[in-house]
């Protein structure tokens, strides 16, 4: 049973759609706004900006975060910058160009109307963040500085040293804090969403667990916004923070929200390779390093001489060899796969032979040590702190790692999921990046959704509920969902097996990484779809959670998150199996050009796959949203 989904994109020319929407949407009168309550889950860029803006408009807002403070959200770790079509350089940038670059970067798998809106509001974001005091880099004349990022042909990236995500998140957090201080937002910290409550087909509220006391509580509202981030930790090892998880989105999915394109995951090429089996996370090194570093591996597999003992003619500078015009700056997915091929062929370097060299000796010779230090000093220090090796003397070792997920809850133009009244914002939704996200666009999308899209679109829904009663927490459905959550946690605590949640997470991550990581094949995905359910059965029988369900128990919290990754993992593999083409971050070995590049199938797969939960994680229903391109024409990416 599959259907074709309606994106509800407004009428009119592409460039007019957002204006037309705003001109025709239903509004809520200022005096009536206080009659509505909105729940916002997650306080990263999207959640904090949405909560602050909705409260400012006059809605009652309850904001939930599982962190001790909203400022801890993982948006804080973004390094590079934020794109905006300001054209402050006069180098030919425009809303149209940012729109087109985003569509092309997404390998023609994103929705035109959403992406155009994103490019339009990008300029407002910069104005807004500067007004809030974000200390973006400046030139000596006092104007904002820009840089080019991720292979873009224009300089449209605004940045605050290597900590742009931190400064933007603190900006949004401070606006949220202002509302909390003034009573506009009620903040619930250390509170984790454990389920979404749906009554008569619409979102009625949430059930949360107080992580300090273990107590479950129900919260009702007119609308619920999930801004709970991506699911990159399904791979166990990723650049995500330790606590990042899919639970909120997955619980919504199990209650009826469709999950779109779960196989679109982004692998970042320049991370520090794993050093040990118990390693908990990988650290990203900014991609800017590839501007001056040269990537190479020994020509002969298993050559374990020290790097400086390997002569030039026994090194393979494979990116420069394969992609002469882009060389070491080849896009993320292409350089990631090339590194994997080298390591798989036994040419990997380091003790575990799991990395490739990123060598600065040529740059140090050309520019001098001081210039290199000026450009990359802080990154070199970070690398040395983690690995104990000094990159001025020894080449860095890098390897790709999971970094961002383009897939997420399916949303229409108004960011509403398939459950009326339930919205998804930021990385939690699937909306803007297609099959691959451009560098410096994640921050842009989070803030766009939270500051400039949701506050407009939500009134279109809420206005229908003016002076009508909605179910409160005394409705029996809330008690039922609370009981189901309680049973679930009791179940984890009472399995009495032998393995910790972390052990299962690590094993699950290995399967997903091996078969649904950088390169996927039909046989591999079939294999994963056999191994994941088998491991899941073991999880149900052999899990051990010490400590009870009352009170603070980090092991119990982890068990719930890992269980949701199991079901998501199955859906990721299913989606990757059914998408019989390669596009962006989804590379199926069977579908490649003679040169080994992604081979799209626009006739059969120019659509969004949105999955409906059927209760059986191995047999979900696939729905599609056809991607209709009015403005752009399909092109093949080439970086030769």
């Amino acid at each position: 049973m599959s259907s074709i989904l309606d994106s509800k994109s407004p009428e009119g020319l592409l460039a007019d759609k957002w204006q037309n929407f705003k001109a025709n949407e239903k509004l809520v009168n200022p005096a009536n706004k206080r009659k509505f309550k909105v729940i916002v889950v997650g306080t990263g860029l999207a959640g904090a900006s949405a909560a602050a803006t909705l409260a400012e408009l006059g809605y009652q807002v309850d904001a939930f975060t599982f962190h001790d403070s909203p400022r801890r959200a993982h948006s804080i770790a973004a390094q590079g910058g934020i794109n905006a079509a300001k054209n402050y350089r006069g180098d030919g940038d425009s809303v149209n160009r940012l729109f087109y670059d985003t569509i092309k970067g997404g390998d023609f798998r994103s929705r035109e109307s959403n992406v155009h809106r994103l490019a339009e509001v990008s300029v407002n974001i910069i104005d807004q963040m500067v007004a809030q005091g974000v200390p973006f880099a400046r030139e000596y004349g006092g104007m904002l500085d820009n840089r080019s990022f991720g292979g873009a042909q224009v300089s449209r990236t605004f940045y605050a040293r290597g900590q742009t995500g931190q400064q933007l998140l603190l900006g949004a957090y401070q606006q949220l804090a202002r509302q909390v201080g003034q009573g506009g937002v009620r903040l619930f910290n250390r509170s984790e969403l454990v389920d979404v409550v749906v009554i008569e087909g619409r979102a009625a509220g949430v059930v949360v667990r107080d992580l300090m006391t273990g107590e479950l509580s129900s919260h009702s509202a007119h609308a619920v916004v999930l801004a709970t981030g991506g699911y990159g930790n399904a791979f166990f090892l990723s650049t995500n923070a330790m606590a990042c998880n899919v639970t909120a989105a997955w619980r919504a999915h199990k209650r009826g929200a469709f999950f779109a394109n779960p196989c679109y995951t982004q692998i970042h090429p320049t991370c520090i390779p794993q050093s040990d089996d118990f390693q908990s996370k990988l650290t990203l090194m900014s991609e800017s390093l590839r501007n001056d570093g040269r990537v190479w591996v020994p020509e002969v597999a298993g050559d374990n001489r020290e790097p400086h003992l390997i002569p030039e003619d026994e090194r393979d500078y494979y990116l420069e060899r394969l992609y002469p015009s882009f060389g070491n700056l080849a896009p993320r997915d292409i350089s990631s796969r090339a590194a994997k091929r080298a390591v798989d062929a036994g040419q990997g370097v380091g003790l575990k032979q799991n990395g490739v060299y990123l060598d600065f000796s040529e740059a140090i010779g050309r520019l001098g040590r001081d210039t290199v230090a000026e450009r990359y000093g802080n990154l070199f220090d970070m690398y040395e702190r983690i690995t104990g090796e000094n990159p001025y003397d020894v080449p860095m070792r890098i390897y790709p790692a999971s970094h961002y997920t383009m897939g997420g809850l399916w949303v229409d133009y108004e960011l509403m999921t398939t459950i009326p009244g339930l919205y998804a914002a930021g990385e939690a939704n699937f909306s803007d990046h297609g099959a691959n996200r451009l560098g410096a666009s994640a921050l842009m999308q989070g803030l766009s959704d939270g500051y400039f899209v949701l506050p407009y679109t939500i009134s279109n829904y809420l206005s229908e509920w003016l002076n009508k009663s909605v179910p409160d927490t005394s409705h029996p459905e809330f008690a039922k969902v609370e009981n189901e959550a309680r049973d679930r946690y009791n179940r984890f605590a009472s399995v009495g097996g032998t393995r910790s949640p972390d052990w299962f997470h690590r094993e699950l991550g290995k399967i997903i990484w091996d078969y649904c990581g950088m390169e996927r094949t039909e046989a591999g995905l079939e294999k994963a779809l056999g191994e994941i359910p088998a491991l899941y059965e073991e999880f149900k029988k052999d899990l051990r959670v010490t400590g009870g369900t009352d009170g603070l128990n980090q092991t119990l919290e982890k068990a719930g998150r890992v269980e949701d990754f199991f079901e998501l993992g199955m859906l990721m593999c299913r989606d990757a199996l059914d998408r019989k083409e390669s596009c962006g971050g989804h590379f199926r070995a069977e579908y490649q050009t003679e040169e080994g590049e992604a081979l799209r199938d626009d006739d059969n797969f120019a659509h969004v796959a949105a999955w409906e939960n059927t209760g059986d994680p191995m047999a979900p229903n696939r729905h599609v949203e056809d991607l209709v391109y009015e403005e752009v024409h399909f092109q093949t990416r080439s970086y030769k």
């Binding site: 602050a52 400012e56 962190h67 001790d68 403070s69 400022r71 801890r72 959200a73 993982h74 804080i76 770790a77 300001k86 402050y88 104005d127 807004q128 963040m129 500067v130 007004a131 809030q132 005091g133 200390p135 973006f136 400046r138 030139e139 006092g142 104007m143 904002l144 605050a160 040293r161 900590q163 995500g165 931190q166 603190l170 401070q174 606006q175 804090a177 202002r178 909390v180 903040l187 910290n189 923070a241 330790m242 050093s275 118990f278 908990s280 996370k281 003790l351 970070m382 702190r385 983690i386 104990g388 400039f452 910790s500 972390d502 052990w503 010490t546 603070l552 128990n553 980090q554 092991t555």
Partner: protein, 258 residues
């Protein structure tokens, strides 16, 4: 290259809740590679505790790249341990030697009550920001970003202060449990910028007074600067004090006008 550390003795603070008394629990780490991070060592210990059917040690941590500010820990009496300018999550075992005894405690400060084991409640920091650590700028009304030029030295100095990750090491290191470095870093960030001028003195007054309601007083020991993983300079406290003093005069003058 990789070395293995042997026979580490960990003395870890265990405490069931805010109102119970705690004690040190001793664990031995027979072997660990010096490539491991300090928190990975605790991860491994926790796995072992679960295997032995014991409860894992509770501690706060998240990004593990030194930017979210969630991790804490007094390590051998030093906030974030022995490496300067480094948060606990970025500390690696190569900073220790075989046979070491390592004492691990939660942040020490009465304004950060212990929740359990090594986890403390730092929400008093949020209260300080809520009191004025922002620029009031309603969404949608902002002028073009290049309308107000900000001289580069000013922007750089604001950024130096804005780097604070809100971890609380400054408070934990301070003999008085003062939060002056944290509060001053935010005040300096916003009060230096042209956008922050309209609320400059109300911000200074409100934030300082909220800070004083939770934390101890600064007596210029400078321990905060030494412990700060972002190496924020104690100079910011001078700016805060100057602005607070001016605020007391300015704000009073305004009161007498009404």
């Amino acid at each position: 290259m990789t070395n293995t550390l042997k026979n580490l003795t960990l003395k870890v603070w265990r405490q069931d809740g805010p109102n119970t008394s705690g004690s040190f629990e001793t664990h031995t780490i027979e072997e660990i590679t010096d490539e491991a991070s300090f928190l990975e060592m605790i991860d491994i210990l926790n796995e072992r505790l679960i295997e032995d059917d014991k409860e894992a040690i509770v501690f706060d941590h998240d990004c593990r790249e030194g930017i979210c500010g969630t991790c804490s820990l007094m390590i051998n009496g030093q906030a974030h341990g022995p490496e300067r300018g480094t948060a606990t999550c970025q500390l690696h075992m190569r900073k220790f030697s075989s046979g070491d005894t390592i004492v691990i405690e939660p942040w020490r400060a009465s304004a950060f009550p212990i929740i359990r084991d090594l986890m403390v409640d730092r929400s008093s920091f949020d209260r300080i920001v809520e009191a004025g650590g922002y620029i009031t700028a309603a969404t949608g009304g902002a002028p073009d970003a290049n309308l107000i030029p900000v001289p580069k030295p000013v922007s750089d100095a604001a950024m130096d202060a804005a780097q604070c990750i809100g971890c609380g090491a400054c408070v934990a290191a301070c003999p008085n449990g003062a939060a002056n470095l944290f509060t001053a870093a935010k005040i300096t960030h916003l009060n230096l910028l042209p956008q922050g001028q309209a609320e400059r003195y109300s911000r200074a007054e409100d934030m300082v007074e909220t800070m004083d309601s939770f934390f101890g007083s600064c007596t210029n020991h400078g321990e905060c600067e030494a412990a700060c993983p972002k190496e924020i300079s104690i100079d910011v406290i001078a700016l805060m004090n100057a602005d607070y003093r001016k605020a007391k005069v300015q704000n009073r003058k305004q009161l007498s006008r009404t």
